[in-house]
Subunit: 358 residues, 3 copies
Amino acid sequence: MSKVATGHYFEDFHVGMQLPHATPRTLTEGDVALYTALTGSRFAQHCAVPFARGNGLPAMPIDDLLAFHVVFGKSVPDISLNAVANLGYADGRFLDLVYPGETLSAQSEVIGLKETSSGKTGIVYVRTRGFKNATTPVLDPVLDYVRWVMVKKRDPAAPAPAPVVPELPAVVDAARLARPTSLGRLAIDPARSGSPFFFEDYEVGERIDHVDGATVTDAEHRMATRLYQNTARVHFDDHREKGGRLGATIVYGGVVISLARALSFNGLGNLLHLLAINAGTHANPCIGGDTVYAWSQVLDKADLDEDCGALRLRLVATRNRPCADFPSRDDDGRHLPCVLLDLDYWGLMPKRAACVSK
Amino acid sequence: MSKVATGHYFEDFHVGMQLPHATPRTLTEGDVALYTALTGSRFAQHCAVPFARGNGLPAMPIDDLLAFHVVFGKSVPDISLNAVANLGYADGRFLDLVYPGETLSAQSEVIGLKETSSGKTGIVYVRTRGFKNATTPVLDPVLDYVRWVMVKKRDPAAPAPAPVVPELPAVVDAARLARPTSLGRLAIDPARSGSPFFFEDYEVGERIDHVDGATVTDAEHRMATRLYQNTARVHFDDHREKGGRLGATIVYGGVVISLARALSFNGLGNLLHLLAINAGTHANPCIGGDTVYAWSQVLDKADLDEDCGALRLRLVATRNRPCADFPSRDDDGRHLPCVLLDLDYWGLMPKRAACVSK
Amino acid sequence: MSKVATGHYFEDFHVGMQLPHATPRTLTEGDVALYTALTGSRFAQHCAVPFARGNGLPAMPIDDLLAFHVVFGKSVPDISLNAVANLGYADGRFLDLVYPGETLSAQSEVIGLKETSSGKTGIVYVRTRGFKNATTPVLDPVLDYVRWVMVKKRDPAAPAPAPVVPELPAVVDAARLARPTSLGRLAIDPARSGSPFFFEDYEVGERIDHVDGATVTDAEHRMATRLYQNTARVHFDDHREKGGRLGATIVYGGVVISLARALSFNGLGNLLHLLAINAGTHANPCIGGDTVYAWSQVLDKADLDEDCGALRLRLVATRNRPCADFPSRDDDGRHLPCVLLDLDYWGLMPKRAACVSK
């Protein structure tokens, strides 16, 4: 029997299958420093202990996306090692903050299967759950999302399973958004957070060009992807990929999400936390040397509490294309070739009531 | 109103203006490890807890330059986002050591303004102060320096302010140098510190070629600059800069300072701390791929205490040019094109009385 | 007297010479995060506190190779700054686990000397020892190995010393392998460790292609090498090396060892710790841009305890050459040009008795 894991193929999955993922991961201040160095994120809740404590937190939580990428990374060897494409995300929710010293583990459940018309691949729908503090008898859920991927069949002649396509919400209902339980009364000093804009200042439909660009090199995207322990080969092996479709390794889509979120600080500086991922598409591949730009649009607003609300945001990232004119889709509704990411999410935005000036 | 910060232009500043800077930053062991990996610094005070404790410190302090770069980085969005050039430093003092777990914040005061003859830009002089432990009612000053930058006018027709040029000392007077208060009696084992040379061994006028070279890649200088949360665009956006003056992103000057200081270990291995920055010029731009070399000259010596003194040093860094012949200026007094940095600083050097051999 | 260390030359060494190395180094969670980001290692003992505690450890130990590289790095300024080649390793043993917060120091003893026939260089044999917790009166040995390097003579006319070539074991005898004392009863959940294979599943002679490739860029190998505070010039100075033999800086051999060990997770996922280095050769140089592949062969097995044994493994790393056919040597017994590393080591592998399923 071969000692080497080669991942699951389409015919290896069945609906209801539970896949506990390997290698729990204790997050530390070291991971936080690398996340800062690799993304340039400046959201104050993840930069300064006093700022986090000022909002009632016991310590400085790690970035929600760092937790997301680590959970995602765990799922790769079992779900997407033989994937052709990562097709989409839905129904994602951030359920609890993660602190340095806590350990993340992950498990996925197959919730849908559908062979493609070619007969050579199939779409696998999984709900992946991240937990923390893996030693306690009851695991504490941290985040939870659905993604679907196109996976190769090992044997094109293998029979197609009965198609099961899960019903997924187009948007996470605002009533299901959870304000992090450890968050106390918010107290945001705009001179410290870096933004004078609060929930009331954003209007549905409003678009924001985040102006700055961030070039990503091979060294940087690979260090990030290894930090997340994502093992997908297409990110790491120049020798193999230089003969492939792109002629280069592809940047893990999560690296683009994190760069775009970091760029969005300039315009959304008080958006403290991610609450939900409604939908997401990696529209085109990003490779080393590309410069990432981003813009956001406010899609919706929802009241959460007396001191904060939720903004539903569309975050679009592009490659080598500044976003002053908000590039997105062509006349046929297809994403432009410059578009890397089209992400629909809910984030927590403090209200003016949370504003303090010192 | 635009949500996106675009920084101040020359006519936005007035003398006496106070600018509290955003995003306090808690420094951690993660930042220390990255600083080591990105600079190669080997000064034992910042490498080993037992060494630091042997000198009376409660813990291993972070590198003085890491603190400097973080404070500098905070000031960029408010001071130099629209700068054409960073012209100089003066009257900088390191006032206290910073330890992992402490939080830095920064504030600047405009102390001078002078429109340039072109009428399109002006020189802004600021004194920037870094503080630690932002939650306490009284902030603890960590460092303090003056820099002046040439900043664009938004509207070239805006009237020139009355010129105010601050009087700045050419050198920080040795009487104003502060031995870090937490430093106890020094006990330096040369076999551990890596250098057998003490205060008495250095002579005024002496020059030291630091011999080694350090090539800096785009990935490395950008990771460092993001670690310091310096947001100046010119460091990050290849797409924009490839059409610019250099055809490449420029390396943050502080990266060069840190590389040169790390190279200077070979020759100045016992120089435990920076005490003051007298003057400094980024003479020419550094870009990814350049190899940095450095040399030092002892400009002055001052007695500090029974176990240590201060060396006033000139630190010159070059690009792609070894320093065996101490390259510096041409016959007209202009810096040679290979010179990146010309820095004049005071550092703390133990005396022979501090030497212990185990 | 020059302030700049230029390293020892062949005629500076004598048999019995003790060389205490400079700059003790406190390892932290920051170093661990960087090691993960730079190598992609996923061995669960070094990734998750609960996993390590489940095996009786008080905390999550740092990777054995991270400790090795730091100890090796300390020895470079005194042993190999003027080395032409790092010829081999023997009789290496890992004696204790290292935890974040502990401080490593190192010392070498010259155990052999032999001038080469050219008269311009000589071979220096040293035993290097790594210790932890440098402040305590009695140092705790962490690892111990012999290496030999070819070192330049300062003066080719210097007389040759009487040749002393130490007798070194071809293999560390299994009776000398030390199970880490802090290791309690092992409890390995294969769903967490990432591998279902235990000691009993491996057969002597068995070969494993580790399948994946890892491209190493200049930024990555230099960050790793600086993290280890290895100061050998050939890794850092593009300006000098572009005119050298390779036309590029050479990757520190330890970077290749770590990448190969990380790749070997796929096939040897439960190999918790390194116990000994029997022999090792850096067969050919690796440069930035190379993609590293690896394969392993089980050379021997030894019983250690009721819940674990030792596997003697050969780990071969190649450049730009997948390892499905286990490339190694040509018909004349010479390493193929694609072979970077040929390492012979003992590792600790849990038995089936240690397997728990949750």
